[in-house]
């Protein structure tokens, strides 16, 4: 009776005359408050459960530490014969491998540091670039294919540089930026017909995928992930990388 009273329209269709006792019972606000508090409890319970679920998901997905595992410096998944090198050390003592996504902002932020290190250690260490386009970036994979298409014409480093230097102009878009990439190819003086063919060639996409598969099998779960002689570098930056490189060179 009391429960029904909760939602009965105020002054609505009173079909049944209510006995006075019942009226007195519902006059007290208590039953209503109890109903509200169950609702409130459930609401708060749901919110709490959701917060816990999100927390557990975040923890389980390993937010803090990368899942990239150490491996042998000669692990073939780090450097394949066809992997692109920005610089090659004659002694082969130090090899730096970067898994990157051209659309990833932190890769773009690290790019100047990488260029600085590349200039400072040119010829003394081997810089290897591996494609690791993240699924969340719409144009990360096409960008990798564009770079690969340029690499086919010997302009890997030039296209790599172009992508990062212009990232803010084409990144973070939900529309395809293929035209923009083709423009870069033109600026670099590439044979555009060959570029177009390579860009659309499934073999190019497969080549990018191969890099990504190597990364996934190594446990790479974010970009940039940098390996120095098989050892993943935590929070890569100019200072941390320089320190590690110097130690490895010593």
């Amino acid at each position: 009776m009391a429960k029904k009273k909760n939602t009965r329209p105020a002054g609505g269709k009173k079909t049944r005359p209510r006995p006075p006792a019942a009226k007195a019972a519902v006059a007290a606000p208590q039953p209503r408050r109890r109903g509200m508090s169950t609702n409130l409890k459930m609401t708060i319970g749901l919110i709490a459960a959701a917060i816990i679920a999100i927390g557990v998901t975040v923890v389980l997905s390993n937010s803090g530490e990368s899942t990239a595992a150490s491996t042998s410096p000669t692990d073939e998944r780090l450097v394949r014969p066809d992997s692109h090198k920005l610089s090659t050390a004659a002694d082969g003592k130090v090899t730096l491998v970067e898994f990157l996504d051209f659309e990833c902002e932190s890769c773009g932020a690290l790019y100047p540091d990488m260029e600085r290190l590349r200039a400072e250690y040119d010829g003394r260490i081997t810089f290897v670039v591996r494609y690791f386009p993240l699924p969340g970036h719409k144009n990360g994979e096409p960008a990798a294919r564009a770079v690969e298409a340029a690499a086919a014409q010997g302009k890997f480093a030039e296209m790599y540089r172009k992508m990062f230097e212009t990232q803010s102009a084409w990144g973070e878009k939900s529309e395809p930026q293929d035209g923009v990439f083709r423009g870069f190819a033109g600026e670099l003086g590439l044979d555009l017909a060959a570029y177009d063919a390579a860009f659309a060639d499934p073999a190019t996409a497969a080549r990018v995928q191969k890099d990504q598969d190597d990364g996934i099998s190594l446990g790479v779960d974010r970009t940039p992930t940098i390996y120095l002689n098989g050892e993943p570098v935590e929070r890569p930056g100019y200072e941390s990388l320089k320190e590690s490189i110097d130690k490895a060179l010593a």
Binding site: R8, A10, R32, T38, T43, A50, T57, G136, S174
Partner: protein
């Protein structure tokens, strides 16, 4: 109980309409202003384009943003102003006639259907989320939910006798159902953009 007294859910509805209408109006207004800025300068970067997923610019340029041939936020500017005004009227304690409440029901139902179509488009067709649009989603759902519950429990929307108990039961858990509704959409968003959220963690 006097005939002039409002049902408990009408009280909640009054607040939901007032707050929801006001918040929705601000969001729709901002979206309209951003749309005008985008029309003046196609290279304009809206204030809410934060990253590839949270981006108004890319969403506002889609055909879905003009579902009826004109920018969607225009509907919001007009509609939410009316919603807020009705909320304030209900806050005065007024009991509005059945035809009026049914009119609100029609509007709120259109709003909630449209918003869910937009949610679907945003998640699965456009692949980006626009923060101000999400504010509109977030207020349209309670506006519809509380309007419907108030109309069902007040008798303005007729409920067949066998269903009455069920309706009353659901009405008791009004905010829990709302939260569950929100959570479902949050889960869909989290699932769809999971690979991207991961990179931010």
């Amino acid at each position: 109980m006097s005939a002039a007294r409002q049902a408990p859910l009408t009280r909640a509805l009054a607040w939901v309409l007032t707050a929801g209408g006001a918040i929705g109006l601000v969001a729709a207004f901002v979206l309209t202003v951003e749309k005008i800025a985008l029309l003046k300068d196609p290279g304009y970067r809206p204030s809410c384009s934060i990253n590839p997923i949270l981006s108004c610019g890319s969403v506002m340029k889609t055909p879905q943003a003009e579902a009826f041939g004109f920018p969607n936020p225009l509907i919001g500017v007009a509609g939410f102003a009316v919603v807020a005004a009705i909320g304030v009227v209900l806050l005065t304690g007024a009991r509005l006639p059945r035809w009026f409440m049914l009119g609100l029901q029609v509007g709120a139902t259109f709003g909630v259907v449209f918003v869910h179509w937009l949610i679907f488009q945003s998640l699965y067709r456009i692949g980006a989320l626009c923060p101000y649009c999400m504010v509109v989603w977030a207020v349209t759902i309670p506006v519809f939910w509380y309007t419907t519950l108030a109309n069902l429990t007040s008798g303005d929307l007729p409920v067949p006798r066998p269903w009455r108990r069920a309706v009353e039961g659901v009405a008791r858990f009004h905010s829990a159902v709302l939260v569950a509704w929100y959570l479902l959409i949050i889960v869909l968003i989290g699932e769809e953009f999971w690979s991207y959220w991961r990179t931010l963690l």
